[in-house]
Subunit: 496 residues, 2 copies
Amino acid sequence: MDDLAGMHWDSLQFDSGGATPIYRQLSDRLAGWIREGALADGSRLPPTRELAGRLGLNRTTVAAAYEALEQEGLLQAHVGRGSFVSAPARPAARLDWEARWKPSLAAPQTLAPAEAGALNFASWRPAAEPWAIERLRRAATEVLAARGPAILDLGPAEGYPPLRELLWAQMKREGIAQPGDELLITSGCQQGLDLAAKVLVGPGETVLLEDPVYPGARDLFRAAGAEVRGVEVGPGGVSMADLEQELARSRPRLMVLTPSFQNPTGASLSLDARREVLRLASRFQVPVVENDVYAGLRYKGNRTASLKELDTQGLVIHLRSFSKAAFPGLRVGWLVAPRAVARRLAAAKQLTDLHTDQLSQAVLARLAEDGTLAKRRERLRSAGAVRLEAALEAARRELPEGAGVWTPEGGAHLWVRLGEPSDASELALRARAHKLLFVPGRYFAVRRPQTSALRFTFAGAEPDEIRRGFEILGRLARARPSRAAAGTRHGIPALV
Amino acid sequence: MDDLAGMHWDSLQFDSGGATPIYRQLSDRLAGWIREGALADGSRLPPTRELAGRLGLNRTTVAAAYEALEQEGLLQAHVGRGSFVSAPARPAARLDWEARWKPSLAAPQTLAPAEAGALNFASWRPAAEPWAIERLRRAATEVLAARGPAILDLGPAEGYPPLRELLWAQMKREGIAQPGDELLITSGCQQGLDLAAKVLVGPGETVLLEDPVYPGARDLFRAAGAEVRGVEVGPGGVSMADLEQELARSRPRLMVLTPSFQNPTGASLSLDARREVLRLASRFQVPVVENDVYAGLRYKGNRTASLKELDTQGLVIHLRSFSKAAFPGLRVGWLVAPRAVARRLAAAKQLTDLHTDQLSQAVLARLAEDGTLAKRRERLRSAGAVRLEAALEAARRELPEGAGVWTPEGGAHLWVRLGEPSDASELALRARAHKLLFVPGRYFAVRRPQTSALRFTFAGAEPDEIRRGFEILGRLARARPSRAAAGTRHGIPALV
């Protein structure tokens, strides 16, 4: 019985000079046919002798191929009857995964991508200019030539030593690294938050965040099972009265603050407020994670000392990142903390991803040395200053009466308040129809959805685009008297 | 009163052509002096007019510098009295971090580095050969030229699209990716485990692992608060009887298995045993994380189908990595799982580190396309085959009576059993004095420390070194009749 007369046996060609033995070439092809269904489940393969003859192969070669297929579970041999295809079945009774997610996990949010040609004020990433890419190419070539074996081998959890030393010196110069501190390189600032959650926050414990806040922080701590509480943010950053009240009431394990150019509001804490944060942290003995990711993006005014610089009691874990001023596709950030904390975080990091990618660490070290990062930051600052001015000016001119913005001195975001009652989500939907993208305020809420506010990210757009954006925004905000917010949740254009 | 007559004011030089304004250059220098203690806490700075005269600057410039220092908290102005240094104090009352670690966190283990010149059988990483580094350099240059802006921008959580497509095609060819599955790129295989813990395991819930097991898996799930239980591993992999009993008894949320060349034992499950694992997983409705990180490192015998290939009920999350056969310093791995699972894992990944480093993803995609990875795997396989033979042969010859090894067909590790009663930790200590490094068995224990066994990692050494290693090991094992294990825990040479 020649079961498989219809098969294209003659299409089987073998390469006798290659590294893969002939029997393996044969079994691989047959396995492919079985998986594709070309050889049906239960069908009988030709006897080894017969197939060997047809293919001009040794019989033992075909027998070895059949044995390999048996081993892979694709063939079953029955003595005296032959070899039968045992195709992987795909039956209906599948595991019910839906019942298995940890209860703390929110359903993943869908991020609607920005359409081409839209005016995108929903997100910003520093675009890599050709000169910067060229420098990065050169840096990659140089570091691989000089230290290829070390870069491509496993490295220390704490970070690639040359980059770590360089950042440590920088942190000392900035007054951030103190005696007794240690520096840990992370896979971006987001990982700094993840490690803090892993080391310091147990399920059911409370974490204080700003409200509104960067959703990636809120969702991370919620997913870790924490109880997340929000502290109200005003134009001068978190409210001290609210912070004190929340500290007294909920005795949190941790507070996470972005003292400069907070996402989404752009608000910054004054020096006095920073001192007060530390007094409160000390009084309630609550550690502070200082997310200083926008640190380098001040466009005007004087630099205010970071919480870490002002901290004299080892209360602060200071998070930084290359992503806002270098290249966000390279996932490298760092943190500075009292040594005991940094070491625990490093141990947690080792269990998370062993260490941060070393090629990117080495490239960034090189770009820090050769001045590329400084030059890039300078250019981002010049561009940012012009864009911020354009945005503030356009907001003043275009927004309807009762609406307004807070006025940051740096960063990427403007917080636009439309005046009550307005529904920024509904407005975002109409704006999208006009190819204008921004993120409605409620997306950033911890507990108090600011339905009449929105985040307008100015840092990635040209002044002309910003002016057009505000013109459309103002027109749409005036066009339909806004209704009280009761709308459904709309598509979320971006995460960062 | 000229308070600071001793200061080297004349050392202050200013660059009037630079991007940094003069007042900022002055305040930066003064901030440095304050932080270094050169300007002591409480000392009075010269009046602005006086310092301006001394430095040849405009008085407003000096005033602006003082204001900047005030803003940074380094100076306090008292009307009518002058400006006083307010150096950051470092008092004693520091936060008690030790009371704050999550109880599930073990103290970090110290990894003793291998001495230079030692015979290192404690760990293995594929060394990057010059030809491979050269290809990698070329790949980096090419991908940055072709797709620099996309690579350096933020990317999707699921992975860099070209690499993801390429791996998906490979996984389909291997029979691992099924209709309804999805592929997620991870920051190494370790992250696959971390994400599974985040999505599927709550605190106090049980996870089944092999015993002995890769410590990075055990410690990760413990740190996540899980109850970790071990299933006994024999020469043929986990014991089916023990697995069934543990499944019935502890109803775990998850089991994690390495069916091929398990770390540390080198043991592999037979095809029948794999089918039985899936039957049990289905019967108890327990998902399986299949850690197939050694998949490409078979040196002899036929490939056995992976659990994922045999799975017809969507029970398996299949983990892979580039690190064992490419470059471990590039932290890139991937997983294949039923779509709903893969998407949850992707959402968890986004909260963990946004996405995997894109430069390394792009470089690895290029090296997969141009055949470099295949060539490298081929060379690792040839070297591994010779090394495995040398190790098995030397073990037979050198080990004392009553001792022996299990005989893997691939991977990196041999499991050496010294015979009872022996203390492999004590032996490791004596061996270290002879510059011979291996990892004692108890390091890998979940619940049953195998005090008389050790892991001998053969894959990174030349046959000559392997023979010398076993010669020393045999001699030391014979030299002192081993005592029952009661020793303390010795330094741990390596994690992977």
